[in-house]
Every structure is written in structure tokens, then in C-alpha cells.
Assembly symmetry: C2
Homo-oligomer: 329 residues x 2
């Protein structure tokens, strides 16, 4: 396997801090990866006049994977992350929801994955002012429905649940549901069901253990994945992958958290778990398992940042994980 | 005060059962109300060829309030409840979220109200097929934003939180947020803040006690109110009011539940709490308090339906509430 090219975009605020922690963990593994830094976000805008300079986009396009920290988005400025998802056609946003040892969860047996369509829906960017106010267009295409549903069935173990609101959005969500069941026919060994998005928001609380893979359109996926993160310890632990045909991008679900930035106390778990997703995606399965297992031990022992009830700083938690990696390997 | 006219629409499935329970409770109060039955829903369609016959709509328009059970909506048929909300311009959907004694809640100190705009957003009904798939139009008008925000500030005690996604929907949700802060200026004694909808889905789980009134557009309100119901015992306990300038409609958040319909075991709490909201809205404050207090005692004593861990039937629970009303009055 040739050397992989990973573009690192730290971004703003705690994005930089958790990325440094993740890179420090990765540094002790024997990986055939070349890391290349690129810039994006608010600080980048202040320096280079663009929240996502062309050069960063070019580097990203030529990479095997992108590790993305978090950016601060200011009203009126182009969102670096939404632009990257669209430009690189990263159509599948994958958000695992899992209860780790030592973490307070609503239930212990939660282990599901939200697969969120990442390129259209109300994120199409089509909005206009009208005489009475404003309008946005929700775009749902057959092609995007097909590929996101295919993706969901491919990663499912037992069941895929399509989440929609076809009782109200009869054409757009009706199409999504229709395509979902068409795709389901190709996977007779996987159970297929569909649920209304409002009911799903309830079921995540009352019976999250009933679900394996959820597949849904962009905005519902945005809302449900934050909710789901709340069930298993919050955004500090929620990783995500943005997968396309050519490129891929791995980022924590949390933002740049200006309120705690600079203090060195941000929880690096979501970023490190995002790196684990990246390692597996690039074929470094064994290394991915190693980092996740080390992290699990550290969580179990409570060697964690203040948000999880510990008293370690971001980099100290990373050091603990590195020690565990040494022990385990 | 003249006699009030209340139109009763039982609907389908458990809608009929919980309505009978609620009417039985109301029957022992000395109310200056005339109840008039009207039909809507799937059974109504089978009998009269329409899910909401003109006659029902006319009766509804001439009423002081509508008590609505639940209807079964079949794909391709007009939704009776959405039609009623629109035709009667019931612009404010009010959904209290409160932890009652004897009910398992995520936290004990939850007491918030979701105010959901009820007439537009993705419920505008504007959808079309395109070459690639389908499109829906999300309509946000200044007028609807104004009146829903006014409504929210009027019922708030301490704080109103506007929920939106203006980082992505810069024009439509940008307008909503802008109008929200304009309206807030008229209520300097009430705190005003705004939160992204995905973050709100998380905060409902991690810090629901921090909120008083949430105000939001139609679809976010739909999703968040089901989620919120999950925090305080589920849909069996979630009432709602749909308020307009002239008319008003009170309904449980749950549906017609075909799976348990006909067994007489549906939880009547949400319907009874909806009646309590109606009583207060019509000026029967004392009677509203009486029913709510009686219900609280019955919940505390565990004289409840199977979904809440009891062994009473729907009508038996109603009888218990009536006994308590006698004791308390
Ligand atoms: C920052 C924002 C544009 C983004 C989104 O809405 O997709 C974030 O909430 C997420 O979920 O990754
Ligand atoms: C039945 C459905 C059309 C309705 C809605 O989406 O408004 C329901 O979910 C609700 O919340 O009252």
C-alpha cells in the first residue's frame, strides 16, 4: 500500500487543540501517512481573506483523507465545512452513536449509526427573499437518495431505518422513502423499515437500542445526530466521517467552542474517534482498533477532561492514551 | 359569560377512546359549554368520502374551541389536522413539556413550553416533481414570524429561546431570527436568546431545565416537541393547543395508534391535559386547575394505564380522576 496523503485542517478555537491531541496520538503509530497542513475557517479568513482558500481546496481534492478540527463561522461568510462537503461530493455523513465505558449514557446498550445525506435537502443553498419574507428550496434527487441508501445498507449489520416526513412532504420525502425500499430489495438479508422524523426524535430517547443504521436526508440527520450525541455523553464524544467516491473528511460533530478555547481543556475524544474512523477508512484497521481500545481504557479509568468529570487537560488525556497504546501494542 | 360552543372531533382509533375518557371527566364539571360532535379522519372518509367534510369545517369555524382526538392519515388523502390548522389559521401550536409526579423523567425539574409556528415552513404544501427528483418550498413570512414571536413572549415567564438554523438557512431562518429580536425589544423584562436547532436537540437532553419558552418554525417544532415528550414520559402525556385569532383546537400530540386501538387501554392523559388547556383558554381557569390537580393525584398514586406501568383501562383511569375531582371540589 502506497503512502497515504492526509490533509490536516485544524481550523479555529478548540479545533486546533483537539487536532494537536489527535496528531500527537497518531504520531506514535507506525503509519504510512504523509500529513499536509491546510488552512480554513475564521482565522484563515483574517489572514488570507477567504474561509476556504483555493489552495486548501486543491490540497483537499488531491488527498486520500482530510482530518478537520472545527471552524468558527461568522454570519455572511462562506462555511468552509459545507463548501468542502459539496466541492468534494462527500455525500455520506456517517455518525456513530455508541456508549463508551465510564460515560453516563441514557442506556448502556446504544450502538447505532446515523447516515446523513450530505449534499442537498435544505443545504442546497437555494434561497430568495420574497415580498412577504423569504423562501428556501428543499432539493431531493433520486440519485442522491439512491447512493445514500446504498451506502446505509452496505454498512448495516441487521436493519436500516429510513427517517422522513412523507406524511407532510409527500413528493420529496415520498421519493426518498420510495427509493429506500427499491434499494432495500437488493439487500434481502437486512431488515428495512421507515419511521417519521418526529417519531424518531422520540424513539432515540425511549428505545435507541432498537436501531442499527438510520438513513435520512441532510437536515433531519443534522438534528438527530446532535440529539443522539446527547444520549451517549454529548458532543465531546461524537465523531463523524464524510465519505465521497474519491475523498473523505473526518471531523468531530462539535464546533470550535469559543467559550472554552485557549484553555487547553477541550475533550479530544471526538477528534480522536474521528481519526480512528479515518484510519479504518484508509485501511489501517489494526491501528484504528488499537487507538480505540486505548481510548476506551482511558475513559474507563476516568483519566479525562473536566467536561467528563476528570481533571486532565487536553494534551494530558492524549498522553494517557499514548501510554495505553504502548501497553496494548 | 355566554354558553361556549365546543366542537368534538373524536377521529379514529384511540382518538375515540381517549376522547370518551376526557368527555366523561368533563361531564362532572359544571361547565357552561355546549358540545357539538363533528367528523373527520379515515373512518369519516369511508362513510362520507372526505377526511374533513365541509360540514365539519363549518362547525369548527363557528366554534369557540375544538377538541380533537386523533386521526389516521392514509397516503394520498388530505390530512384533516393540517387542513384545520390552515383553514382556521391556528398559527400557534403550544406544547407544554412538564414532569408530572409518578412519571419517569430524564430530570424532575423540566417545565418548558414549545411554541411552534403552525401555518407555513415546509408545511406550505408547495412541492413539485423535477427531472432529477422533487422539490419543496420552505416559506417563511415576516408576518408569521412576528405573530408567533409575539405569542411566545406573551406567555413567557422569564426567557424565550428562538430555535433556528440561520447558519445554513441564512435568508429564511435569518429572517426568523431578525424578527425574533425585533419583537424581543417590546419585552425588555423577558430574556431573549437564540440557539441552532441541532444544538437545541442536544440541550433538550443535557439541560432542559434551562429553558422556559422555545419558539420555532413549523418543522423544527414538530421534531423537537416529540423529542421533548420523550423526556417526560412519552406521547401518552403530551397535550397541545393550536391557537388562532378566532378559533382554537386542542389535541394530544399522539396519533390514532392502530396497534392498540380497540383494546380500551390507551392512556387518556394527553387528551385530558389538552382539555385542561381548553378549559383555561375558554376562561374556566378554576375547572382547569381542578382537573389537572385530580390527574396529578391519580398519576402519583399509580392508578394508570399499562403504558405507565399500571393495570387500569382507559375508562377506569377516567373514573379515578372523576373520584379525585369529587374529593378535591
Ligand atoms: C456547522 C454546520 C453548518 C454543520 C451542519 O449543519 O451540517 C454542523 O451542525 C454539523 O452537523 O456538521
Ligand atoms: C400528523 C402530522 C401531520 C402532525 C404534524 O406533523 O404536525 C403531527 O406530527 C403533529 O405533530 O401534530
Amino acid at each position: 500500500m502506497g503512502k497515504k496523503k492526509v490533509v490536516v485542517i485544524k481550523g479555529d478555537g478548540i479545533g486546533k487543540e483537539v487536532m494537536d491531541a489527535a496528531l500527537s496520538v497518531l504520531s506514535i503509530l507506525d503509519l504510512n501517512i504523509k500529513f499536509i497542513e491546510a488552512y480554513a475557517g475564521y482565522e484563515c479568513f483574517k489572514k488570507y481573506g477567504d474561509t476556504l482558500p483555493d489552495e486548501s481546496l486543491k490540497k483537499a481534492k488531491k488527498s486520500d483523507a482530510i482530518l478537520f478540527g472545527a471552524v468558527t463561522t461568522v454570519p455572511g461568510q462562506k462555511s468552509a465545512i459545507i463548501t468542502l462537503r459539496k466541492e468534494l461530493d462527500l455525500f455520506a455523513n456517517v455518525r456513530p452513536v455508541k456508549c463508551y465505558p465510564g460515560i453516563e449514557c441514557i442506556r448502556k446498550d446504544i450502538d447505532l449509526t446515523i447516515v446523513r445525506e450530505n449534499t442537498e435537502c435544505l443545504y442546497s443553498g437555494i434561497e430568495r427573499y420574497t415580498d412577504e419574507g423569504a423562501e428556501a428550496v428543499r432539493v431531493i434527487t433520486r440519485k442522491a437518495c439512491e447512493r445514500i441508501c446504498e451506502f446505509a445498507f452496505k454498512i448495516a449489520n441487521e436493519k436500516v431505518t429510513a427517517v422522513h416526513k412523507a406524511n407532510v412532504l409527500k413528493k420529496t420525502d415520498g421519493l426518498f422513502r420510495e427509493v429506500f425500499y427499491e434499494v432495500a430489495e437488493g439487500y434481502p438479508e437486512i431488515e428495512a423499515e421507515d419511521v417519521y422524523v418526529d417519531a424518531m426524535a422520540l424513539y432515540l430517547i425511549t428505545k435507541p437500542q432498537d436501531f442499527d443504521v438510520l438513513v435520512t436526508t441532510n437536515l433531519y440527520g443534522d438534528i438527530l445526530s446532535d440529539e443522539a450525541a446527547g444520549l451517549v455523553g454529548g458532543l465531546g464524544l461524537a465523531p463523524s466521517a464524510n465519505i465521497g467516491e474519491k475523498n473523505s473528511l473526518f471531523e468531530p460533530v462539535h464546533g470550535s467552542a469559543p467559550d472554552i478555547a485557549g484553555k487547553g481543556i477541550a475533550n479530544p475524544t471526538a477528534m480522536i474517534l474521528s481519526s480512528v474512523m479515518m484510519l479504518r477508512h484508509l485501511g489501517f484497521e489494526r491501528e484504528g482498533d488499537l487507538v480505540e481500545n486505548a481510548l476506551i481504557e482511558v475513559l474507563r479509568e476516568g483519566k479525562v477532561t473536566p467536561d467528563l468529570g476528570g481533571n486532565l487537560k487536553t494534551m494530558e488525556m492524549a498522553e494517557e492514551i499514548k501510554k495505553k497504546i504502548m501497553e496494548l501494542s
